[in-house]
Symmetry: D2
Subunit: 262 residues, 4 copies
C-alpha cells in the first residue's frame, strides 16, 4: 500500500505521528522537537534536542560559501521564485561539501561496528589504522579531516566534542574519529585536523541515527543560512557585482561601466 | 564591495553577526535563535522565537503532499544525492502552495499600510472590501483563504491565532485577514475560510519581517519534513509503487507484475 | 483519467505520439524534430525546424554567466551528481534572465491580438505606445529591450530577424517589438535596443506556439551550454578560484595561500 | 586565471569557441552542431552528429516517468517558474535512472582499456567475466543491463546498435557490453538484456567522449521531453489528480469530492 507513517489528513484534522497537529504539537513542541518527532516517531529527550540544535547551528552558514553565492546568483535571475534560489544553494551539498557528513557517519558506523564502547587506546588506533588503510585501498577519501581555511584546526570541533561529552554522546565513534586524526599525523605525516564534518558524522553515529540524517540536518540548517543571505541580497544586492568580478578576470570580456555600477 | 554582513572566516575563527560561532553561539543559542540572529542581526526575544517556531512547525509537513512525492520520486533515481531530492521537494513552493505565504504577507502589508492599529470594525471591513476589489480588478487571487481538503476551516488557524494573541502579535494584519474572510462570505457568497497560508502571512506581517521570510520559513520547515520522508523512503520505499500506480491509470501502459511487486 | 497523450510503454514497444520510437523515430527524426513532435503532435516542417534551431543556439551559452557560475560552484561540492549542477544552472531562468522570453512572448501576443497582419506604421506605433503605457501603469517591465553589456544593440538580433524573414515568420509580433524600441527612443528618450529576449519572444509568437515554450527552449538550449561548462570544469577547474576571488573581496576573510593555490 | 575557453563577450560581439556567434554560428550550425562545438572545440562531422542525435532522442521521454511526474507536481505549485519544474524533473537523473549512462560509460572505458579493437570472442568473454566479477566484489551494480518493463529486451537497443554500426562506432565497447549480457545469462543464469543505458554508455565510449557527457546528453534530451509534458500540463492538467490518487491509497486520508473533481 502506498502510504506514510508520518501523517495523514482528514477534513477536520491533521495527524502527525499519531498526534493532532493543531492541539498536541503546535505551540506544545518547538521546531526541533517536531522535526525529530516526525523522523523518529517519538519526541526527543532534552539531550537529543541539544545535540540536534548543535548540528543545525553548525550547518547554518557563515559568509559567502559556494552555496550562498549560487543562491544569490539564482535570485538575481529569478527574484519571484525564492525557492529556486534556496534549492540551487542546497544542490552542492554532495561528496565534497556538507553532504560529506553522511559519508563520515557511514565510515564511522561501518568501521566501529565491532569496536566495544570501552575499547582501549590500542584497539582504537588499530581500528583507525584499518579505516585509513581501507579508504586508501578503495581510493576513497578519508572523511572528516582537514579544512582549506582552518589549517590549524577547525574551531568548532572542541565545542562540539565538549557538548557531546556533556550530553552523554561521546563514545566510540568520536574516539575513533580522533584516533584517525592521530594515525594520519603520526603514521602518515599528514596534518589533517578533525573538522566539523567529522564532528557531525560522529555525533549522528553516537545518536544511532540513520546516516542519511547527517546530510539531512545540513540541508535544514543551511536552508536557514540561505534565507538570511537572500533577505540581505534583496536589501543590499551583491550578485551582479560577483558576476562582473568573475567576467573581468578574463580581459577579453568587456563589462561596461554602466553595468559595473549597478 | 562584494561582502556580506552575515559573517566571515579567519584561519582560527568563524564570526557570525559579530559573535564567535564556537564560543558565543554553539551551545548558547539554539537553531531558531541562530537563524533569527543571522537574519535580523540580533537575538530574537522569547515571543519572537515562539512565533517563528509556530511557523516552522506548521510548514513541516504531513502526509504525501506534492513536495513529498517529488522528493521520493527523485530519491528513487538518485539515492546517492539526497540534496537533489530535498531540492526537488522544495521547488514547488511557489504561487499556489507554500510560497503563497509571501504573497499573503505582501497583500496584508500593502493593504494595511494606512490602517491604524486600533481601527474599528467599519474601517477594517472597508479595507478588506478594497483588498478584494483590487485583487479582482488585477485578476490576482486573494491569498490566504480556502483549502482543497479543509473545506469547513483549516484546523491550524485557531491555534495560530490564539498563540499570536498570547505573544502580542495579533494586530491589524490578522484582523484584516479575518475581515477578508467575512467580506468574501457576506458580500460575495463565498465560503473560503482563512487558511494556514493566511495565518502565516499575517504572523510575518505582524512581526514586521520581510515578506520574503514568509516563503523562507516555509522552505526551512518543509526541508525538515522532507528529510523525514526520505529516511522513511530509504527504510520502507513507496516511490516505485507510486510510479506504477500512475502508469496503470492508462491502460495502454503495460507494467509487468515483477515490477509492480518491487 | 491520469494519462498523457505524449506516449506510453508496453513490454515490447515505446510509443511516442502514435509512432514506434525504435522504428519510426530513432534514426529517422533528429533531436529537434523529435522534440517538436513530442510537443506539437506532428513533425515540424523545415522552416519551423530552422526557427527552433535558431532559438536553441541563441540560448546555448557563452562565457561565465550566472547560470554557468552556479553550475560550476554546485559541481565543486557534488561532482558525483552532475544533474544537480545542471539544475542549479537552470534555476535562475526567471523574470530577469532567460525566462523573460516567456514574458516577452506573452506581452507581444496579448498586445498584438487585435492587430491585423498588414497593419500600417501608424497602427503599429499606436499599439506599441499602448503596450508601453500599460506596462508603466502596472509597474511591469517592458520585456525584450536593453542589455547590460550590448549597450549599442544586441548583435544577435539582426541575424534572428533576417532568418525569421527568410523563413516566413516576420509578422506583426516582430514589427511590434521593433516599434516598441522606436517608441521608447523617440517618445521616452530611452535608448534600449531590442535584445535577444525580445527576438525570441517575437519568434515564438510568430510561430503561434505556447509562450511557455519560449522559456522552455531557453532551458533546453542552456542545458547544452551547461554540460560544456561542466566538462571543462572537470578538466580544468575554476570554481574554487571563483570562490576564493569572492572571499578575498572582503579583507576580513582569511584565505590561506594553500587554498588559493589549489 | 578565472576564465573559460568556451566563449567571451564584448560590447559588439559574442565569441563562442573562436567563432562570431551572430555571423558564423546562428543559422549556419544547428543546435546539435553548436552544442558539440561548444563541448569539443570543433564542429562535429556528420557521423558524430547522427550519433548525438540518436542519444538525445533516446533520452527525450515517453509517458509518465518519475521525472515527468515530479516536474508536473512542481508545476502545480509554481506555474510561474517553469524552470523549477524542469529542474525538479532532472534531479532524479542519478545512479538508478538516466545518470547511469555515465556509470555504464565509465565501466566500459575502464574495463576495455587493455582490450584490442580486434579482440576475439574469447578475450571479450574473459574481459566481461572480469567486469562482472569486479562489480560483485565491490558490491557495485553492473550497469546497462535489465529493465523493469522491457523484460524481454529493450526495443531501442537493436536500432542503436545498427545505427552505431552504420556510422562506424560499433567497436570494443559495444561488443563488451553484449558480452556482459551473455556472461550474465550463460554463467550466472540471469536474464538481463542490454538496455538503452548500456547502449548509450557504449556509444559515448566508442566516440571517445568524456563519460560525464553520457549523463549530460540525458539531461539535455530529457529537458526537451519535460517541456512537452509541462505544455500538456498547462493545457490539460493531471498533477492534481495524481496527488489525489496517491492520497486515496491510504484510507485514513479524506479527499473531498470537490477536490477530486478539480
Amino acid at each position: 500500500m502506498v502510504s506514510t507513517e508520518i501523517g495523514y489528513t482528514t477534513i477536520d484534522k491533521i495527524t502527525v505521528r499519531g498526534k493532532d497537529l493543531s492541539k498536541d504539537i503546535l505551540g506544545k513542541l518547538d521546531f526541533v522537537e517536531t522535526m525529530m518527532l516526525t523522523i523518529l516517531n517519538r519526541v526527543p529527550d532534552e539531550r537529543e534536542k541539544r545535540m540536534v540544535n548543535l548540528i543545525l547551528v553548525t550547518a547554518c552558514d557563515h559568509g559567502l560559501t559556494p552555496s550562498a553565492i549560487s543562491a544569490r546568483l539564482t535570485y538575481l535571475g529569478a527574484p519571484e521564485a525564492m525557492q529556486a534560489a534556496v534549492a540551487a544553494g542546497l544542490l552542492g551539498a554532495g561528496s565534497v561539501f556538507l553532504g560529506t557528513t553522511q559519508n563520515a557517519a557511514e565510515m564511522l558506523i561501518e568501521a566501529a561496528r565491532e569496536l566495544r564502547d570501552d575499547a582501549g587506546e590500542d584497539e582504537l588506533v588499530a581500528c583507525a589504522r584499518e579505516t585509513v588503510r581501507r579508504a586508501k585501498a578503495a581510493k576513497r577519501p578519508i572523511y572528516g579531516v582537514g579544512h582549506p581555511i582552518h589549517i590549524h584546526g577547525d574551531p568548532r570541533v572542541a565545542t562540539l566534542a565538549q557538548a557531546s561529552r556533556d550530553n552523554g554522546y561521546f563514545g566510540k565513534h568520536w574516539r575513533l574519529m580522533f584516533a584517525i586524526e592521530r594515525v594520519l599525523r603520526d603514521e602518515h605525516g599528514k596534518n589533517l585536523p578533525l573538522n566539523a564534518v567529522g564532528a557531525i558524522g560522529a555525533m549522528v553515529a553516537e545518536m544511532s541515527l540513520d546516516p542519511l540524517l547527517a546530510r539531512g540536518f545540513m540541508l535544514v540548517g543551511r536552508a536557514a543560512g540561505l534565507i538570511a543571505h537572500l533577505v540581505e541580497e534583496r536589501q543590499n544586492p551583491v550578485a551582479q557585482q560577483i558576476w562582473d568580478l568573475v567576467l573581468t578576470q578574463d580581459e577579453r570580456n568587456e563589462v561596461p561601466a554602466r553595468s559595473r555600477a549597478r
